[in-house]
């Protein structure tokens, strides 16, 4: 049996967790390739026009996977960090099934449907049962996988904090969801562009989630989405150590459409630029905008 993991959306939040989990359970898996033009085009053809870019990438990746594996791994996660998720994640299992219905997709998933801390463990055990893997085996795999993800995130956070402390370059905080910033097509060109402008890109996503969510309570009381709280909290925690903020979103992201406006209204002293990525290419416009953004930062610091 072979499981196909689409390299999109929640994969970027759980990469080490999922891959270790399958490895430890003794299940073979394949990953879809990094996002390229072909995947985006396929996704755009399969999706409704108004769907957000990450979902199009998801559908494109599944289109690539569907004939190459027995099961498509597409979990449904309704709550994260004890907070509501964008409805995209609630619907993605049904969405994928209905989009590919004619091709009889076999879906493998776990379903987190409540806010309890134990929800994820229970869901994974249920999935293990479905795969006919002994319970103890799954439990062990789950613990190992969870720890791997945890250490990975801790390491990532620590090394970035060192950069924030020690770097003399202009530090630009890139505020974007994991599935945007780590995507080859969406986020990576922006990180490269920032580096080429002799600035230090700081990824908001890499900071510790618990601490950030705690900090976000000072900014917004009713912000419903856990992932957005993580990003907003990162700004709140490091606002004194950074020189500028890039709000990187994909068109038309529901949560970001509101939260970005809130961020711009709350942090009036830090230069902020909003970059929106769509299915169309053309990074030349973004390049120019980023250059003038860095000029503004330098001007503000008196370096120009």
């Amino acid at each position: 049996m072979k499981v196909g993991i689409p390299r999109a959306l929640l994969y970027f939040k759980n990469e080490k967790f999922w891959t270790t989990l399958f490895k430890e359970m003794g299940i073979e898996y394949i990953l879809s390739p990094e996002t390229n033009k072909e995947i985006i085009n396929d996704g755009a053809n399969l999706a409704i026009d108004e769907t957000c870019l990450p979902t199009k990438i998801l559908l494109g990746s599944i289109n690539w996977l569907i004939d190459k594996c027995d099961y498509i791994f597409i979990p449904r996660i309704a709550y994260a960090h004890g907070q509501q998720m964008c409805t995209k994640f609630l619907a993605q299992t049904d969405l994928v099934y209905n989009t590919f219905r004619d091709r009889n997709p076999k879906l493998l998933f776990y379903d987190i449907d409540n806010k309890k801390v134990t929800a994820e463990r229970k869901a994974i055990l249920k999935m293990g049962k479905f795969l006919h893997i002994p319970k103890n085996h799954v439990k062990l795999a789950y613990i190992l996988a969870k720890q791997t993800q945890l250490y990975y995130e801790m390491f990532r956070c620590e090394s970035q904090e060192n950069v924030v402390k020690n770097s003399n370059k202009n530090k630009i905080l890139i505020v974007a969801h994991a599935y945007n910033i780590k995507d080859k097509y969406v986020g990576e060109p922006i990180i490269e562009a920032v580096k080429n402008l002799n600035c230090e890109p700081i990824i908001a996503e890499y900071f510790n989630a618990e601490q950030c969510i705690q900090a976000s309570r000072n900014v917004s009381k009713t912000l419903p989405w856990g992932y957005n709280r993580h990003l907003v909290g990162a700004i709140e925690m490091y606002k004194d150590n950074i020189d500028g903020i890039i709000l990187l979103t994909t068109f038309p992201c529901g949560p970001d459409s509101m939260v970005n406006d809130m961020i711009i209204r709350k942090y009036k002293n830090i230069p902020i630029i909003t970059l929106t990525v769509d299915t169309q290419d053309g990074t030349a416009g973004m390049q120019t905008r980023l250059e003038s953004f860095v000029d503004i930062i330098n001007f503000k610091k008196g370096n120009l």
Partner: protein, 355 residues
């Protein structure tokens, strides 16, 4: 105790303003102003100050708030829900405060419904000296107002396309709504309901034996607020169609059939899709099973739950062989475009009927 300082206001939403007015004035003993009817200016104001690609209902709400604040309202209210609606309140509050308005904000997303203390504290925003007894007494009446409105509107939707004297339904119904605005108690509501139900049912209609039946589905706000769907129901009635709509406050807030609806939708959507998407799917299946001639989905641009429901609707359409027309409204939709598409839809449905 009566509070003379606060003037409460909830954004314009279908014809429910009189129900909100009743609970504020009779329950909380606070003045309430019904916001002016939505016009082009409302949505222009709302779009001007809203983020670019936020969903259209937010823009309508913001426009309504601004117009109400100009008229003297100083205690705004917002509800909560399963999607972006949860964040409407706080963002609108920050935007309006940045614009320089002074007001209080009653945000239901902020209430912890598990703690009575939190509920009472938030109610005190509307009136610091509110009486819990009076609020509790006025709630059943408010529910009755909503139920009456929905019952009347359901009847009108089925018959307005076939009235003999044009405009009679609208005239009678508007008269009823005017009287509801100054409602004194539950008893008066009962009398009014009796009188106007008789008047409505006595209006002459001429229904042919074979009629075209159309079902309306869509996101919570757009399907209910006629301005935001370009008076779709009125346009459809002009073609002489019978319009069915399940989504209203009675069926969602008062008698919530969420579970039952989810079961209906189960074959297509196993899980909760978020917000009202399961309702949308379930209604589409119901309409299709009852041999309707067509389904129209209206939604605001970028409404995530409804977008996720669309591939499912397309499958329903294929399986039951029923046409579904999708409309996506933003602040900048052209009226003629909507009309043309409706005409084409009508022609297609009629041709299918004959063939």
């Amino acid at each position: 105790m009566i509070n003379n300082e606060n003037i409460a206001c909830f954004p314009q939403w279908a014809n429910y303003a009189c129900a909100f007015k009743y609970i504020c004035e009779k329950g909380f003993e606070t003045k309430y102003i019904i916001p002016p009817p939505i016009t082009k200016k409302t949505i222009e104001l709302g779009s001007k100050y809203s983020p670019d690609y936020v969903c259209a209902p937010f823009k309508y709400c913001l426009g309504c708030y601004i117009e109400a604040l100009e008229q003297g309202a100083n205690c705004l209210m917002q509800i909560y829900g399963g999607c972006r609606l949860n964040y409407y309140g706080e963002l609108a509050e920050v935007i309006l405060k940045d614009m320089g308005y002074q007001f209080k904000f009653f945000n239901m997303a902020d209430i912890n419904f598990k703690s009575i203390k939190s509920i009472v504290e938030h109610f005190k925003i509307i009136n610091p000296n509110f009486s819990l007894v009076k609020v509790a007494k006025s709630i059943p009446v408010m529910m009755n107002i909503i139920k009456t409105i929905d019952k009347f509107e359901d009847y009108i939707r089925l018959n307005v396309g076939f009235e003999v004297n044009e405009g009679e339904f609208e005239k009678t119904y508007n008269e009823f709504l005017q009287k509801l605005n100054n409602l004194k108690n539950g008893k008066q509501l009962k009398q009014l309901k009796k009188i106007y139900w008789k008047k409505l049912t006595n209006i002459k209609v001429n229904k042919p034996s074979k009629i075209i039946k159309v079902g309306m589905i869509g996101d919570y706000y757009t399907v209910q607020e006629p301005f935001s769907n370009y008076f779709m129901e009125k346009e459809l009635a002009k073609f002489g169609m019978e319009i069915h709509r399940y989504m209203n406050l009675t069926n969602t807030l008062i008698h919530n059939k969420g579970k039952e609806r989810k079961n209906v939708a189960k074959k297509y959507a196993k899980y909760n899709l978020g917000a009202t998407a399961n309702f949308t799917v379930a209604e589409a299946i119901d309409f299709a099973k009852n041999k309707f001639d067509g389904i129209i989905q209206v939604k605001s641009f970028g409404c995530t739950p409804e977008i996720d429901a669309m591939p499912i609707l397309q499958n329903v359409s294929k399986d039951f062989n029923i046409p579904i027309l999708h409309f996506s409204f933003d602040s900048q939709t052209s009226e003629t475009g909507v009309k043309t598409r409706l005409e084409a839809f009508y022609d297609m449905v009629e041709a299918r009927n004959k063939g």
